[in-house]
Amino acid sequence: MKTVSAGGEAVLEARATAAPAPASGVALRRLWRFKWGAVAVFVMLLVVGSAVLAPWLAPYSPITVDIQHRLGPPAWMDGGTRAHVLGTDQIGRDLLSRVIYGGRVSLVIGTVAVLISSTIGVLLGLAAGYFAGRVDWTIMTVINVMLTFPFVLLALAVIAVLGPSLINMIIVLGVADWPLYARVIRAETLTIREREFVLAGRALGMSHLRIVFRQILPNLVSVIVVIATLQVARVIILESFLSFLGLGVQPPTPAWGNMLGEGRVYMLNSWWIATFPGLAIFVTTLAINLMGNALRDWLDPHMKV
């Protein structure tokens, strides 16, 4: 019934891009993409590196309260000190440390949730595409139900029951996001299934499992990697939505979303409290998206079905 969105859109767009065009144009375009891709990879290395090394990099604990030095501006402003490079928040916690630790939360949620959703999605997509028939119909119906349903609403309904917490958020985001993978994988599997080498394998009497995992799956790796990369960005944004609404990661654990939510009331005088986590979200998701696009061009410039 339904066709494209986020990850699927990557494929659709790639298909259009792959259509005949002046050769030099394509080359230029790819080069342009890769340049940005390289920048993106560099940025992501920084983000991931600082998240991993947070305990050594962060000058303070992200939850140490110091009310005597609250609302301190960043170092380069009047009244700022080098002790707190990005300033301090409404109860005197060091913003730089909180942004660094917040990255940890975002990245962990993003990657774990995507691991969960891609695993479920790929397995179900393979099953639907390979076995077709009733299995396909059932899985596709479930996918349609899930896709029709606003992702955020579903996440909210589950959090209403489980209560807001980091683990619950990972589960929710992971479980709710699989249909995207399933749909794309199913479509790809449907075509690969009819290719000679699969048919040959079947004629040779290979088991279904072997055909699916040894013959079909390797052909799908690039598609999965591209979608998964782009989805990490989406999950990070969603996490920040939920935390902003107070339904995600709970204070005092720093997450970019809840920092932005808490700092909102200070936008008019102590703007830095909300601005730096906001920037962090923006830069990180931007970098991941660029990386995903570059990855797509690099792995398979045609990414043709």
Binding site: I91, E262, V265
Partner: protein, 512 residues
């Protein structure tokens, strides 16, 4: 196809634009906009504990007596005079020529019906405890009422400011549910409509017996986000907001559009600890743990740095403005070492885990920031506090009433705007009351004695004893008496009220 699309979008645009415009009948000049963070649960004030319900009640209803904001004395309102006949009888004369919004005259039988309804135990009205000392109400003639009390009742006059007068006819003819949404009072404004959690629109009652309000309309908007309230105030969308965080005052004052005003208010903030074990066994049933909590927190520093000095440290829940306050009792001072030691003696040498239900800053400015600071202080003494934020004040209050407040939760008490120690002790510290998580028979005896004599000197002595007991037993984690912070648009004149009842009918346009 394109024509179809553009036609379609045009249509959609028309629908979008036309639909909400039906609302705008009033002009900006004759409308005053007041913002609240949280909506009322009902338009029947005696059936609600929320400050918002009291405030809204003042606009549509009248009370027998009101407080003069300058002198803080109680002065006549719907009652014109009152006197004691004997130790247990009060006689009240009523104002003549007052009419309800439905046109029916206000008489003695309305007073009787209003009190009888609240006093009826079967109705379980929230405000019952406030008036429980009244045994019966008798109609003498159309404009005279007699109250029989259960023993001497020193707070009778104060409490006349805390019950709105309903119409007997309405209470008789309409079902309870109707009364919850349709207030028929004698007050300066009438309710035009109520869109739950959005706004209330009030229109001036042109037949009002008292001074007429300056603004024809009052819009009361429910704006949960404080950032949005402030943005609205300084962009001219809202005229009056309250509970402004002290660290945002400069934003408002520098805006050129609005200013701030502060006033000590009759409200004490504390963290209630579940000494009475209403939610089951918890560490705070042990006195040493409660004392440790009190000793862990540096409240003076929090007042100074987080509230910018806008708070008055209290030794117990009794507010400095209330009758009976003991100025000699010194509050707890931070002593982490002693707190740790007490906690260890109580059986928690490695610290203790506690859940803390927190609420939004509806009546208490900067509540989240002070909570965070308190939690950080408590951590130093070994309390591992997990905050659980309940975003809706109505819900938090409802849970607390049901005994689901948890071992520790945000609480502040506005005394129903009655300036007397009894108005907090009875409701918040007495065994078995809805909003009390403390139970101590010794204190109950003192509370009872305090409300049973007309001798103010004797009462003051009783309350000194009660406060000593509450302090020594560390009933709750005591914080401070609040100072209200209002944001007021420069287009209006308004005095910050010490009884925390915003009165939009007193707001006037500023002379240019």
């Amino acid at each position: 196809m394109r024509r179809m699309l553009s036609l379609g979008s045009l249509l959609i645009l028309l629908v979008v634009l036309a639909a909400p415009m039906l609302a705008a009948a009033q002009t900006k000049d004759d409308t005053l906009v007041y913002a609240l963070q949280s909506d009322v649960d009902t338009w029947d004030p005696p059936n609600s504990v929320l400050r918002e319900a009291i405030i809204l009640g003042y606009h549509v209803f009248d009370h027998l007596a009101v407080r003069d904001l300058k002198t803080r004395k109680v002065i006549p309102n719907l009652a014109t005079s009152w006197k004691t006949i004997d130790d247990t009888t009060w006689e009240v004369k009523l104002r003549q020529g007052v009419r309800f919004h439905d046109g029916s005259p206000f008489t003695a039988k309305d007073v009787k019906a209003s009190f009888d309804r609240v006093l009826d135990p079967a109705r379980k009205m929230t405000a019952r405890g406030n008036h429980a000392k009244i045994k019966s109400v008798e109609v003498v003639d159309d404009h005279t009422v007699r109250f029989k009390t259960d023993g001497p009742y020193p707070l009778f006059v104060e409490r006349m400011t805390a019950l709105v007068m309903h119409s007997e006819k309405v209470l008789r003819e309409k079902p309870h549910e109707w009364v919850q949404e349709n207030p028929i009072g004698t007050g300066p404004y009438k309710l035009v409509r109520w869109n739950r959690k959005q706004e209330h629109l009030l229109v001036r009652n042109d037949d009002y017996w008292g001074p007429k309000p300056a603004f024809k309309y009052v819009r009361i908007r429910i704006i949960p986000e404080q950032a949005t309230q402030i943005a609205e105030l300084i962009s001219g969308g809202v005229d009056i907001i309250k509970a402004v965080p002290p660290d945002q005052m400069d934003v408002i004052d520098k805006s050129g559009q609005a200013r701030t005003a502060t006033s000590p208010i009759l409200r004490t903030a504390m963290l209630q600890l579940d000494q009475a074990a209403r939610g089951g066994p918890n560490p705070f049933t042990e006195r040493r743990v409660r004392q440790a909590a009190n000793l862990a927190v540096d409240a003076d520093a929090i007042i100074k740095h987080v509230l910018n000095g806008l708070g008055d440290r209290t030794a117990t829940g009794v507010n400095p403005m209330a009758f009976g306050w003991d100025a000699g009792l010194k509050p707890y001072k931070q002593d982490i070492g002693r707190a740790k030691q007490l906690l260890a003696e109580a059986g928690y040498p490695n610290g203790v885990d506690v859940t803390f239900n927190t609420g939004p800053p509806v009546v208490e400015p900067a509540i989240q920031q002070t909570n965070d600071a308190i939690v950080a202080d408590m951590a130093k003494a070994g309390f591992r506090v997990k905050q659980n934020y309940v975003g809706d004040n109505t819900v938090l209050v409802a849970r607390i009433k049901d005994g689901k407040g948890g071992p520790m939760f945000n609480w502040s008490w506005g005394y129903y705007s009655v300036f007397d120690a009894d108005a907090i002790l009875y409701d918040v510290f007495k065994c078995g009351e809805s909003y009390s998580y403390y139970c101590n028979r010794e204190l109950d005896d003192l509370i009872h004695a305090g409300r049973s004599t007309l001798d103010q000197k004797k009462r003051a002595e009783i309350y000194v004893k009660a406060q000593k007991l509450l302090f020594d037993d560390a009933a709750y984690l005591y914080k401070w008496g609040l100072r209200g912070v209002w944001g007021i648009s420069n287009r209006v004149e308004y005095q910050a009220p010490a009884d925390e009842v915003d009165r939009m009918f007193l707001v006037t346009p500023r002379k240019k």
